[in-house]
Every structure is written in structure tokens, then in C-alpha cells.
Amino acid sequence: MTLDRSDRSDPLEGQLDEWRAAFDRSFAEPRRLGDDDAVLDVLGIRIAGDPFALNLADLAGLQPAMPAAPYPATAPGLLGLAGHQGQVLPLYDLRALIGRGAATAVRWWAIARAAPLALAFEGFDGQWRLTPGDRLQQSDAAGTGWAVRCGGALRPLIELEGLIAAVAGSQLGEPSAGSFTTTTSAGAAGR
């Protein structure tokens, strides 16, 4: 056990030193404000066991899911009403909106910035700050046209504007959300 501890303490101390150095370096290095235009912040999520990504610029907030207040409506993907910073928002199932069926266990809520509504999804893997080189066009990804490389793995990027437009369209009696696209505009990437 003593040998085991010594074997493990050396890499840990090295990592500790590395973290301390990185922390100190964050104060010492100059700010690259000019480069931040090309920075893309994405949120890695998990829907039906598969990894996806959301553009952080499309969101107004992230919070752990709570029981939704039931709402008597038959809109597709509508789970009920959610409260966020004093606002009452309609809560939609993101998995239903991207056409993968109803979610079984919802743990997170993402608040959309483009429209007053909340999206519920199942898993949250983390946040990455990406460079433009990490955004790839991917034609074979299901329902999306773009993918991002997060930690060495590709994640389809979900385009929230199209989904929100589809939801707004279904509320106005337009065709269902099954025809949404995940096109990413350059303007959205630039925000």
C-alpha cells in the first residue's frame, strides 16, 4: 500500500504543479481579446445516449432540471412550464424536437436566447471553447450539417434557430418540426 501510494503521489503532484502553473500563467499571459472573435463556445450534451453540441451563443442560461408545471396543451414536444429568473417559459423536449422520440429522463434545462422558451435534455458532458478549426462540416450526421471536435471526438452541432422557428411555426399551424435543419450561419458563429 505504501508503494502504491508513492507510485500514485508522483503523477498527482506533477499534475498539481501543472495546474498551479497554468493558473498562474492565466494571470501572466496577455489577453488575446482580438482573437476572441473566432472563439466558439459549445456545450456538450447527450441525447438518447449520443453526443451532441449546442452553441453557447444561442443560449440564455443553463440549469439543472426541476419538475415542470403541467400545461394543458397538445403541442409536439411540450413538457409543461418552466421558471427561469422570474420568467415562466414553455418547456420543450429537445430529443422530440430533433425527431428522436420522447425523452425518458430529463436532467437539464437550457434557456434559448432567440425565443422565450426552455429546452430539456438528458445529459450534460461539459463546455468547450473551440477555435474555428474545430468546426467541421459533416454531411452524414443525422439531421445536422455541422460538427465540432470536442476533446478529440466529433459532436453534431444542433442549430437552435431552426428548431425555434419550427416550434413557432407549429404553434401557428404550420407543418411539424420534423423538417427542421441544423444549418449554421456564419453570423451565429460569429456572435
Binding site: D36, L62, P64
Partner: protein, 486 residues
């Protein structure tokens, strides 16, 4: 079957009863004769007194007549004698006829007549004394005296006749009693003679029969007794010889018993030494058992510490959950801060950088928490393994302690068995000594028995001689009883 003595007793008893009967009958006859003789004597006395009365009255009358005629006083002497004796005679006669009322009545009558006659005589005498014979003869008529005297004679005659009848009656009674006595004597004598004859015949037959048979039995028994005495003498000789041989064997047995006693004593010494060694082994086992118990306590202490370590690892896991939760919340806050910075546009870019650093720290904290959780899981697994290994060791120690207990119990049993062996050896030693003593006593007893056998042999010779003499005596007795040689 009547015995000889019983027959003899019965003969004597019958003779005694017959003699008693004859004696009783004779005594009663003699008694009756004696009483009748007394009564005859009394009747004779009564007759004598009656005759004396009559004689006195005759003397008085004759005397008063003589005096009347002569006037001389000496003629009055018979009269005076009668006056003096008449009362005595009457007084003596009265008890003699007391049992006969008829005679008493006649005596009363005669007494009155006698008094009347004596009064008449007295008056005549007085008259003659005071006057002359002629005057007296005139005054007193002589015919009256004669008449009264005749009446008295008649009464006296009746009394005499009555007494004579009594004499005849008593003579008949005497004859009857004498006849009875004679009959008793004659028939008693005849019956006694017959009884003695029958007893003699019976006793003779019994003597010649039963006693003869018994004497023959005595003869045969004497012969058998002689043979038995001879056999007994031979057996006694053999017994004496055997006793001598047995005495020799017992002497050898005595020597063997003493050797056994010496061996038993050596066994006792060895057993006591073994008991001491067993006690020493028991002490060593006790020390080893205490060592095992201390080891057991140390193992229990280690188990307690390991369990405590496991509990504290679990508490650390709970704390790590708290830290992980804080890291996740920090991460969410950092993401929201990034979102807010993005919303703020250019003004929020610096804040976005800080928020990204905060998010990185939260990520590192989450990663470190996961690493610590893995370490804690490793520690808990090691603790569980150690606890299980320690419990296995504890069970092994318990098994070793139980085996030590078994060994100690076996040593205790061995010590107990050794003590038992010591006691048994002591008992063997004691018993062998007692056996030797008993064998010595037995040797003495056998010597006495041999001596007794020799004495028995001698007394058997004496018995044989006595049996011979007894046979000869029985032959003599048989000759005496049966009067003929057998």
C-alpha cells in the same frame, strides 16, 4: 403308630385309673360302714339309757313301797339315787334321739309320766314320814301308782322297740355296704389282673417287635458307621497329604506376591514422576494458550481499527460527494457566466475569460474528485480485504486455540489417568501386601487343617471302634428283647 413309651404310659395310666376307682369305691364303702357303726353305737347307747330310765323308775317305786311299809329311812336310798340320776339320764338320752321326731315325742311323754310318778312317790313318802302307815295307805291309793307305772312301761317299751327296729335297719345297711365293698374289691382285682395281663402281652409284643426292629436298624447303622469311619479315616489321610502339598504351593505363592508388591511399588514411583512431568507440560500449555489469547486480542484490535478506517473512508466519500456537487454547481455557474459574458458582448469578453478559468478549475476539481473517489474505493477495497484476511486469521487463531484447549484437555486427562494409575498401583501394592498376609494366614490355617485331618483320622478310628462296640451292644439288646439269636 404307637411308640413303646406311649404304650407303657397308657398301661400305667389305665392301671392307675383302675386303682383309683377301686380305692374310691372301697373308701366310700368303709366310710358308709363307719357312719352306720356310729349310728348303731348311738342306738345302743339310747337303748341303754332307756333301760336305765326304766331301772331307776323301778328302783324308785320299790324304794317308796319299802319305805311305806317299813318307815325306815335306808329304804329311801334307791329313791334318792333315782331322783339324783333321772335328770342326767334324760338329758343324755335327748341328744341321742334328736334325729327321730317320733322318739322325741315319746320321750316327752315319758318325761311327763316320770315327773308325775316321782311327784306321787314324793307325796307318799312325805305322807308316811308325817303319819302312820295306815293313814298313809288311806290317803294314798296304791292302784294309781301301778297304773301310771304300766303306762310308763308301755311307752318305754315302744321306745325300745323303735330303737331295735333302727338296729335291724342299720344292720341291713351295713350288710349292703359290705357287699358293695366286696364286689368292688373282687371285680377291681379281676379287672386289674386282666389289664396287667393285656399290658404285659402288649409290651412283650412291642419289645420283641419295634425294639427288635430298632436294634436291627442300630446294627445295620453301626456297620454303615464303621464303613463310613474307615472311609473318613482314609479321606483324612489323603486330606493331610494334600494339605501339605498345598502348603508348599502357597509358600511359593507368597514369594510371588512379595515380588508383585515390590514391582507395584516401583510402578508407583514411576507414575508419580510421570504425574510431575504432566503437570509441567500443563504449565507450558497454559502459557502458550495465554500467548494465543493475546494474539487473538491483537487481531480483534486490528479488525476494529480496519473497520474504523473503512467507516472513515466512507465519510470521506460523503465529503467527496459534497465537493463533487460543489464542483458541478461551480461548473454550471461558470457556464452561465460565460453565457452572460457572451450576451454582454464586448464588455463581457474579459469576464468570459475569467469565467472560462473558473470553469476549468471546476473541471479539474471534478476530475480530482473522481480520482479521490477511485483512491477511496481502492482504500475501502483494501480495508475489506484486510478485514476478511484478518477474520480468516482470527478464525485460524481460534482453531489453534481450540486445538490448544484440546491438547490441554488431553494433558489434563493424561495427568488424571496418571493419578488414577498411581492410585491403582498403590492399591495393587496394598492389595498384594494384604494378599501376602492372607496367604500366610491361609498357610497357618492349612497347617491347622492338616493337623485337624490327622486328628480326624484318629477320631475316625475311635468312631470305628465305637461302632463295633455299638453293634455288639445291639446284638446283646436284641438277645435280651427277643430271647433268640438273630
Amino acid at each position: 403308630m404307637w411308640t413303646f413309651g406311649r404304650k407303657l404310659s397308657m398301661g400305667f395310666a389305665l392301671s392307675f385309673a383302675l386303682l383309683l376307682l377301686i380305692g374310691t369305691l372301697a373308701y366310700r364303702g368303709v366310710d358308709l360302714l363307719t357312719q352306720t357303726s356310729y349310728q348303731v353305737t348311738r342306738t345302743h347307747a339310747a337303748l341303754t339309757h332307756v333301760e336305765a330310765l326304766m331301772s331307776l323308775m323301778k328302783d324308785a317305786e320299790t324304794s317308796q313301797r319299802g319305805y311305806l311299809l317299813s318307815g325306815e329311812d335306808p329304804y329311801l336310798d334307791p329313791y334318792r339315787h333315782a331322783v339324783a340320776n333321772l335328770p342326767r339320764q334324760l338329758a343324755e338320752l335327748r341328744p341321742l334321739i334328736r334325729d327321730n321326731p317320733g322318739q322325741q315325742a315319746r320321750l316327752n311323754q315319758a318325761t311327763a309320766m316320770i315327773e308325775g310318778l316321782m311327784q306321787l312317790h314324793k307325796e307318799r313318802i312325805e305322807s308316811r314320814r308325817t303319819s302312820t302307815i295306815e293313814a298313809a295307805m288311806r290317803v294314798q291309793g296304791l292302784g294309781e301308782g301301778k297304773r301310771r307305772m304300766d303306762e310308763l312301761r308301755a311307752v318305754i317299751s315302744q321306745m325300745e322297740e323303735e330303737e331295735n327296729d333302727l338296729l335291724r335297719q342299720r344292720a341291713q345297711e351295713v350288710e349292703s355296704a359290705a357287699t358293695g365293698v366286696r364286689m368292688a374289691i373282687v371285680w377291681g382285682t379281676v379287672a386289674g389282673a386282666l389289664l396287667v395281663l393285656a399290658a404285659a402281652l402288649t409290651l412283650n409284643r412291642a419289645l420283641s417287635g419295634q425294639v427288635g426292629t430298632a436294634v436291627k436298624h442300630v446294627q445295620r447303622s453301626s456297620a454303615e458307621l464303621q464303613a463310613a469311619a474307615n472311609q473318613q479315616a482314609a479321606g483324612a489321610r489323603e486330606t493331610a497329604t494334600s494339605m501339605t502339598e498345598i502348603s508348599t504351593t502357597i509358600s511359593e505363592l507368597l514369594a510371588t506376591s512379595r515380588q508383585i508388591a515390590d514391582s507395584a511399588q516401583r510402578v508407583v514411583v514411576i507414575a508419580e514422576q510421570t504425574a510431575g512431568l504432566a503437570r509441567g507440560g500443563d504449565g507450558t500449555l497454559q502459557a502458550a494458550r495465554e500467548t494465543i489469547a493475546a494474539m487473538r486480542r491483537q487481531i480483534d484490535l486490528v479488525v476494529d481499527h480496519m473497520l474504523d478506517l473503512g467507516r472513515k473512508s466512507q465519510q470521506i466519500g460523503v465529503v467527496m460527494d459534497l465537493v463533487g456537487e460543489l464542483a458541478e454547481q461551480t461548473n454550471i455557474l461558470a457556464i452561465n457566466a460565460t453565457i452572460e459574458a457572451t450576451v454582454a458582448g464586448d464588455a463581457g469578453r474579459r469576464f468570459s475569460v475569467v469565467a472560462d478559468e473558473i470553469r476549468k478549475l471546476a473541471d479539474r476539481m471534478t476530475a480530482s474528485t473522481k480520482e479521490i473517489r477511485l483512491q477511496i474505493d481502492d482504500v475501502r477495497g483494501a480495508v475489506n480485504t484486510t478485514v476478511m484476511a484478518t477474520e480468516t486469521g482470527s478464525k485460524a487463531v481460534d482453531a489453534g486455540a481450540r486445538q490448544f484447549d484440546d491438547v490441554a484437555a488431553t494433558f489434563a486427562k493424561i495427568a488424571g489417568q496418571v493419578v488414577t494409575t498411581t492410585d491403582a498401583a498403590r492399591e495393587i501394592e496394598l492389595s498384594t501386601k494384604q494378599q501376602a498376609t492372607a496367604v500366610e494366614q491361609l498357610n497357618v490355617a492349612l497347617s491347622n487343617t492338616a493337623q485337624a485331618s490327622r486328628e480326624t483320622e484318629a477320631s475316625s478310628g475311635q468312631t470305628s471302634q465305637t461302632a463295633t462296640e455299638l453293634a455288639e451292644m445291639s446284638r446283646d439288646l436284641l438277645r435280651l428283647v427277643q430271647a433268640q439269636p438273630t
